[in-house]
């Protein structure tokens, strides 16, 4: 937050991730991430929003090289890691997964789950040190030492998500990809986990890539936001700027679609209801990918793909007619 001017910790250039689907007769390529430029400064939280299938999770995983990128480059702290051996970087880059029910091995105790990463990176000097580290991490995420001997099924959703976070933090990382970490939790628990993410960031100086489809949570936690649509970032900028003065028609409709928990405002508000569904990434529309659903689409939009242009300080929009909306 304070060192926005500092060097970028994560830098992705023209990042592409294509998946091949179908057999050899009808082989097709899904362009899940298609030429994304993204930079995350040390200590900041970059929020990534978009609807299901827009490629936000794929982008997060490709940055960690959990998927090998099809093209483009990723650099970490100034070093190109697109082809580098990842083991030394795994300690610095971690991930918290969406589903706290599926992402924990049911046959490992919490202590084993958290300790595994410590073992792999040989962080503990002895048995005692290992146990101390595990307890230290568990306490940090609001669990306690006796939880270490229990199994994941004994915990509630919110507690499991804490275990997932403890596992990511066990190796003392610098960068954490949070892939929809609160979507599966009850509303009353979401705020607990969001607050914990913020507290851990203050204490450990973490940098987050926070992926969610819930714009209100992303806005709350992020310094900057990127809005994705069909494999592309269509708008990026400071979080307040995006939510209050979003310029891309997609961003604006996304914001207007979010239900407001305030009856007076909700009744007064003008909603932009988008027509139709998100097109299949197998077969993305020509030109601007949003044009079939865009209320302001012109002839040019179907032919020419807009590039990200700076419209204000640090505010980039990929739209031919951003002034329309």
């Amino acid at each position: 937050m304070t060192n926005l001017a500092a060097a970028n910790l994560i830098e992705a250039r023209e990042l592409r991730q294509y998946f091949t689907v179908g057999g050899f007769l009808n082989k097709k390529r899904v362009k899940a991430v298609d030429g994304v430029n993204l930079s995350v400064a040390a200590g900041e939280t970059f929020g990534l929003v978009g609807e299901s299938g827009c490629g936000k999770t794929t982008l997060g995983r490709t940055i960690l090289r959990l998927y090998e990128p099809t093209g483009g480059s990723i650099s970490y702290n100034g070093k190109d890691i697109t082809k580098a051996p990842m083991l030394p970087y795994r300690r610095k880059m971690q991930i918290v997964f969406q589903d706290p029910y599926a992402s924990l091995d049911p046959r490992m105790t919490v202590g084993e789950i958290v300790g595994e990463a410590i073992d792999i990176h040989k962080l503990a000097s002895g048995k005692k040190d290992r146990t101390d580290r595990i307890i230290f991490i568990l306490e940090k995420v609001g669990l306690n030492s006796e939880h270490a001997n229990r199994y994941p099924h004994e915990f509630s959703g919110g507690q499991r998500q804490r275990i997932g976070i403890a596992r990511a933090l066990a190796v003392d990382p610098e960068f954490v990809v949070c892939d929809e970490p609160v979507s599966a939790l009850d509303v009353s628990i979401q705020a607990q986990v969001v607050n914990m993410f913020e507290q851990l960031q203050r204490e450990n100086g973490l940098t987050y890539l926070f992926i969610s489809h819930d714009l209100s949570i992303v806005k709350h936690i992020s310094n900057r936001i990127g809005v994705m649509y069909l494999g592309k970032i269509v708008e990026t900028g400071e979080s307040g700027e995006i939510t209050l003065h979003g310029a891309h028609p997609y961003t604006r409709s996304l914001i207007s679609a979010i239900p407001i928990a305030d009856p007076h405002k909700a009744r007064k508000r003008e909603r932009i209801i988008l027509e139709g569904d998100v097109p299949s990434p197998l077969n993305p529309p020509s030109g601007c990918r949003f044009h079939p659903r865009c209320p302001y689409a012109a002839a040019r939009c179907a032919e020419e793909e807009p590039s990200l242009n700076e419209t204000g300080k640090g505010h980039f929009v990929a739209c031919h007619y951003p002034e329309c909306s």
Partner: protein, 335 residues
């Protein structure tokens, strides 16, 4: 006596699981008038779905109703035979389920599933039923309905399937539509489409809706009345404005404070509700929210709070509201 379309009184329902009795509903009471939209809000396991299922007589196996009455349109639902229930279910009361991916049968076409529903309740000829189905798909905003009728569910996106579910629920023009988290599985832009559709269908068809959700934002724009459920009880009930602007239960307040507001410029800290949802097998004595409540008093952990009424439409179950009563009646009661 019955001016209400739906009149649920002191409903108690338990699930008798091998591990013990789970009291899913405790003295649930609510009324709805014709054409009214009621939102039921609560977290998972609070009993909001079970309340709705019991109106349709589709509570799953170890569940049994233990007491109370369910009235609908002057008929008693809880004492009805299965045969009579069949003529109500899908005809006068319909339901839309949460997950549009699993609630359509994958091996039948969309058309045959809607036609089946029509013919079951009206005995119409196949041809007229088919025409009616096309008309309904049109009404819910599905383009090329004739073509869609011949397709299987997997060809349709989530939003489209939910539209089909709505069409199917509305073919018999029910008096009451129950929507059980109809948009939870959908993206926000699709959610906005579906809510808009339900809103306009309600205006044109004049049915009452029970909207079950965990999202306070959804009820704010849709509903006239809101029931907040926690651990199998309606802990607060009132008009939308009453519940949002003068919440009288600590859980409702907590829910309202724990969600970040999008148009709030200041970086506010979220105030979460501490603790975890309760274990329904071993519910705490007294008020079930007491273990998570910031203003918990001695009496809260001992006795279940009575309802305090604030207006004709607004009540809540919280001892804090009884404080004034204690103070006038002498301190000894409050101890």
């Amino acid at each position: 006596m019955n001016e209400y379309l739906v009149d649920v009184n002191n409903e108690r329902l338990s699930f008798f699981t091998p591990a013990g009795e789970v009291k899913a509903l405790n003295d649930v009471t609510f009324h709805m008038k014709t054409g009214e939209v009621l939102g039921i809000v609560g977290e998972s396991g609070s009993g909001k779905s079970v309340t709705a299922y019991s109106l349709l007589g589709i509570v799953p196996h170890p569940g049994r109703m233990l007491g109370g009455t369910l009235m609908f349109n002057g008929q008693r639902l809880d004492t009805m035979s299965e045969k009579q229930m069949e003529s109500v279910r899908g005809n006068q009361i319909s339901i839309i389920f949460q997950d549009p991916m699993t609630s359509l049968n994958p091996v039948f076409t969309i058309g045959s599933q809607i036609v089946e529903a029509i013919r079951l309740h009206t005995g119409k000829q196949k041809r007229t039923a088919w025409a009616r189905a096309v008309e309904m798909l049109n009404l819910v905003g599905i383009s090329e309905p004739e073509k869609r009728m011949r397709q299987f569910p997997h060809k349709l996106s989530g939003g489209m399937r939910q539209r089909v579910m709505i069409a199917m629920a509305l073919v018999c023009e029910p008096k009451l539509l129950i929507a059980d988290e109809p948009t939870t599985a959908l993206d926000v832009t699709i959610q906005a489409q579906i809510l808009e559709l339900m809103q306009s269908l309600r205006k044109s068809l004049g049915m009452a809706i029970i909207l079950i959700t965990h999202d306070l934002g959804v009820v704010a724009s849709m509903c006239e009345k809101i029931a907040v459920m926690y651990a199998g009880r309606i802990v607060e009930y009132g008009t939308t404005d009453e519940v949002f602007y003068c919440p009288r239960h600590e859980y409702t307040r907590g829910l309202l404070n724990s969600k970040p507001l999008l148009d709030d410029d200041a970086k506010q800290n979220l105030t979460p509700i501490p603790g975890a949802p309760i274990d329904m097998l071993n519910p705490p004595a007294g008020c079930s929210f007491a273990p998570r409540c910031g203003s918990c008093m001695k009496i809260c952990v001992r006795e279940t709070p009575p309802a305090s009424e604030f207006s004709d439409t607004h009540y809540s179950l919280c001892w804090l509201n009884q404080k004034a009563v204690f103070e006038t009646a002498g301190k000894d009661e409050a101890r």
